[in-house]
Symmetry: C2
Subunit: 354 residues, 2 copies
């Protein structure tokens, strides 16, 4: 069976959530010992998780960041500030618990699982890395497709399987996370296509480009879109042409979580391009998708608008790795504890409004 037909089976298995469960959650929320709706957006998060889990006592006690790593042929065009070796060096740093995501995840009690989907260097002897390498990096999308269609489907299925494995191990909330030097360039290309936006509106400074660097990135994205003649009605084809192996895998994480009826938070700009791809591949997956923060990367706001989502946090972050996702998992955890464990007015013997 081809990876694309496996993916089609996943798409067919994703069902929308039941709005009745969300209504039941609001009934419970409005009976808890607080003025109705006084917890604002935290109540909305609780209701959405309740809807996904089909219960008015949802739980996200067990949390995991599924972090996908890959390299990008397009760095040949000089779009990255850091050398390409930083991809594997940061993978090593993450399994060694030295990266930002390790600390943010620890602060909310989440595990971090790093997957090699497309790092150039052989990481098979690096303890702690889940090896799911589809290819040692993508090809340069500015001169031709970054991946074959089957490579892209295989990378998506890596993410689907990672989500399935996480849920089988008990995960109740998943966040996406990324690592890949140069990956804001394919993320910009994907966002331009899936959000129907000019490349100049979705290309930002990444890890630290100056104005000239950003202008060059815009030109590279424009060239990649032209060379590959992408068709937005074929989202897997778009992912293959101007995506990345780790980005495709992150789209798979969203689809796999949706298949498993599990809430999935998407992190920043790279994860946002993957979330957009996932929702274009299967619109029903949107019911399981939660925003996290608003990245400083300008294309992230374009993605959020295209997805119709308001971010939970606005902290001027732009790191990726799942850092915004992890912090947001903490807020969602508070939301679930609130709806599940608070006393009602009747239970607590508290008088309601006069």
């Amino acid at each position: 069976m081809s990876y694309e037909s496996e993916l089609n089976a996943v798409i067919g298995a994703i069902a929308p959530t039941d709005p009745a469960a969300e209504e039941a959650a609001w009934t419970r929320l409005d009976n808890l010992t607080k003025p109705p709706r006084s917890l604002g957006r935290v109540e909305g998060l609780a209701a959405r998780v309740a809807c996904v889990q089909g219960t008015d006592r949802p739980s996200v006690a067990k949390k995991v960041v599924l972090l996908m790593a890959g390299d990008h042929g397009v760095v040949e065009e000089g779009v990255a500030v850091y050398p390409q070796d930083v991809t594997w060096q940061m993978v090593a740093n993450i399994v060694g618990k030295g990266a930002a995501i390790n600390q943010f995840a620890a602060s909310v009690g989440a595990d971090v699982l790093v997957h090699d989907v497309g790092v150039i260097r052989d990481l098979s002897d690096m303890p702690g890395v889940v090896i799911r390498k589809v290819a040692p990096g993508t090809r340069n999308m500015a001169v031709g497709p970054a991946m074959t269609r089957e490579e892209a489907a295989q990378a998506v299925m890596v993410g689907v399987q990672a989500a399935r494995d996480a849920v089988a191990a008990g995960a109740e909330l998943i966040s996406t996370g990324d690592m890949g030097i140069g990956n804001t360039t394919p993320a910009s290309a994907l966002t331009a296509v899936f959000a129907d936006a000019e490349p100049a509106l979705v290309c930002g400074r990444g890890t630290g480009l100056d104005d000239e660097g950003v202008a060059h990135k815009v030109a590279v994205v424009e060239r990649a879109l032209q060379v590959n003649g992408v068709n937005e009605l074929d989202p897997l084809g778009v992912l293959a042409a101007v995506g990345g192996l780790e980005i495709a895998a992150l789209a798979g994480v969203v689809l796999g979580a949706a298949e498993q009826r599990t809430c999935v938070v998407f992190d920043g700009f790279i994860s946002g391009s993957a979330a957009l791809a996932a929702v274009r591949i299967c619109p029903a997956a949107a019911d399981y998708l939660f925003p996290s923060h608003r990245s400083v990367e300008p294309g992230h706001s374009v993605q959020l608008d295209a997805l119709g989502l308001e971010p939970v946090l606005e902290l001027d972050m732009r790191l990726g790795e799942g850092t915004g996702g992890a912090l947001t998992m903490g807020i969602i955890d508070a939301a679930c504890r609130m709806i599940s464990n608070m006393a009602t007015f009747a239970e607590a013997g508290v008088s309601d409004k006069e």
Copy 2:
């Protein structure tokens, strides 16, 4: 010794933080394995905690919400939506772990300590409540001063002592929290005075007033300010005239934390009025004061502006109890773990920019 002279000793003991510690923190932050400043405001939080703690490896592992409860004579004017009994009923609910603050605090690993500073009902037989009652509720500020000057100073010292006790028990981060039916009315009056704002700009719906109720609240606040002839250059006198026992105690929590060189997060509108009072009483306390969320209550933004602080979270909450403070403690925890435990580029063997 009078309570006011005890308070003056506290004010004299509060010293500004050392900016050199913040500079050292930024040096460390810029050497950690991430693009410089890519964690945005989270880095700023880490630097501020580092400055308060005088180390570039700060910790806020032990966290506590100091929740102060009190009743308000001004409810005679019909400014509250819930009956006055809800104050003690909610205190019972909080010690029984049924309130929102219990769940939010649990989600960030914080303890909650409830103090009776001025609840009308005798709570001495309610297990778990710290009894520090100064008076059984304030008097109606619309007809005269809510407290005597000495009562207000005593209530402030309740908060100072609560902060001292918390720090002695190991607390590294404190959040304020409030409970008191009717307390948005004194909080509005204090904000009008300390932020030099029209009452109409700082009176909101509280727990659920309609437009007519808000207009009535504005009239009550205007009357209280007129009847009491408050002088903003005497902040303790203002607190006594138009404050509340739990609000005075929360101002004391801020002052006590500052005296103990400990970071203190202030919650929503009630806590914001206490934070403003504390900073007017002792401007150096501002170095130890951290914002949390932006409440829907319009006066909260006025307070934040007057304090020159940007909130960390904007989640459309308006509950109080310390709920916004608790969530923010989680973000500050992530910030401290990040600066203290991340690897530097050199330690991790990660290449820096080319």
